[in-house]
Structures are given as structure tokens and as C-alpha cells.
Amino acid sequence: MVYLTRVEHFNAAHKLYNPQWSREKNDAVFGKCANENWHGHNYDLYVTIKGEPDHETGFLFDAKRLSAIIRDTVIEKLDHRNLNVEVDFLQGKMCSTENLAIGIWDQLQPHLPEGVRLHGIKLYETPRIFVEYFGEKKGG
């Protein structure tokens, strides 16, 4: 089994704001991240796949094709966007880095060919804050 990671970037605006709560409670829980006029980040996305190298190419999967899949299914939807307002797969969800990583996993998963398994999503919101998701569901 080998693991292959492709790194991509996108820039986006967002806010952490729960519409079920009052302004005061949002400010108390999320602080300046709840600013109603948004703030933004340079996100760094690490997508790791796993499998066996093909005996003819030596590749687990062509990294350029992996990059194209990430671009088409994820980056196109996220780059230079407002995550709360413009991203279909985040509608109705809190735009935390945690939920974004899970959403990215769900976007990518169906587009990977047989024999290539998604291993992990690592998503940096800032150079010092990142989350990882390995596809584990609650109770699973």
C-alpha cells in the first residue's frame, strides 16, 4: 500500500455564525470569527489517496489527473468564493474548517476510480490551524 498526496490552494471568505443563535451568543462563542461582514483565509488542502502502484505505469494514480479532479469538484466551487453564501455543499452547515474538510471528502470520493481509495483530507485554515478527516463516521 502506498499513499500519494496532492496539495492545492484556495482563498475564500467566510464567517462562523449560527443563525439559530442571537448576535450576542454568536459573538460570545465565535468572537471576531463571527464578524457579519466576513473575513477570509488562504486555505491549503492536502488530499491523500492510497492503493497499489499499477504494474505498467508505476503510478498509484496519475497526480495530474488527481489534481484535475480536485480542481473540478472542489477548487472551482471554493476558490475566491464566500463559503457561507456560494458553496452548494456547505448550505445549511456551519462553515468551520472541520465541516469544510468533511464536505471536501464527500465531493471527491465519488470521482476516484476503482482501486484508488481516499485516505485523508488535511485542510489548513492558517499555517497554525489545520484539521484532518479520514472518512470515519460517527459510531463507525
Partner: protein, 140 residues
């Protein structure tokens, strides 16, 4: 005490996260989109900005400091971070109401804010990273 008569440059790094939109109000939406592309998205996008403040001078013979770094850090926090961090540069700051918030212009604004607080005998330059690969310096 032994002392230095040559200039030394000292640097302080800071970070802030903000949303913005590159937009010229004198142009219609189509021309803004044509010139600025996805950077003009009306719903905003955002960045992790990294700011490097450079101060040049001869170290003070008594302290050995060009400038006290704690003071430089405090001035930068008060003048820049408190105004820009987790803000929408277009909407939440007074500087970019009629001044496009490009990295170039943000650097000029930051320089002016810091220049007013730093000893005129010291040289000042700011370098602002909008992404890891796009950065500007002022004065040039």
C-alpha cells in the same frame, strides 16, 4: 560600553485574516469582472495576510536596540491588527471606501499608519504577503 555605528535592520512578522473584493466603483460589473476576474466576486473572498515590518537604524548605544521589539509589536497590533484582523477590508475599515484594497494599496495604508508611530529617525518598510507567492513592498 562598546557600540555600533552602522545601521542594522530589524523585522517583526505579524498575521491577519481578512475578506476583500477588488472593485473599481467607476466601472460597471462587467468591466470589473473582465479586469479583476474572480478577485472581484461581489460576495468577497479572503486571505491570510502576512506582514513583515522592517525598521532600520543605528542601535541605541544604551539599550543596543534599533527599536524595542515589544513596542514595535504593540504599535503593529494597535494600528494594523486591531483594524484589519477578521475584518472585511472594503466594508469594515475607513481606508478602502474609495481606495481599491489591492495588496499594493494595503501596504501603503499600513506604512502610513506605522510611520506616524515610529521615530522619524528610523527607516521603515513594509512587506505584505497576500498569498505565499504574491507579496508587495512599500516603499519600493
Amino acid at each position: 560600553m562598546k557600540q555600533v555605528n552602522q545601521k542594522v535592520a530589524v523585522f517583526r512578522k505579524e498575521h491577519f485574516n481578512a475578506a476583500h473584493r477588488i472593485f473599481n466603483p467607476a466601472w460597471d460589473d462587467r468591466k470589473n469582472a473582465e479586469v479583476f476576474g474572480k478577485c472581484s466576486n461581489p460576495h468577497y473572498h479572503g486571505h491570510n495576510y502576512e506582514l513583515i515590518v522592517k525598521v532600520v537604524g543605528v542601535p541605541d548605544p544604551e539599550t543596543g536596540y534599533v527599536i524595542d521589539m515589544k513596542l514595535l509589536s504593540r504599535i503593529t497590533a494597535e494600528e494594523v491588527l486591531e483594524r484589519f484582523d477578521h475584518r472585511n477590508l472594503n466594508l469594515d475599515t475607513e481606508f478602502f471606501k474609495d481606495f481599491n484594497p489591492t495588496a499594493e494599496h494595503i501596504a501603503v495604508v499600513i506604512y502610513d499608519l506605522l510611520r506616524a508611530r515610529i521615530d522619524p529617525a528610523l527607516e521603515l518598510q513594509v512587506r505584505l504577503y497576500e498569498t505565499e507567492r504574491n507579496f508587495v513592498e512599500y516603499p519600493a
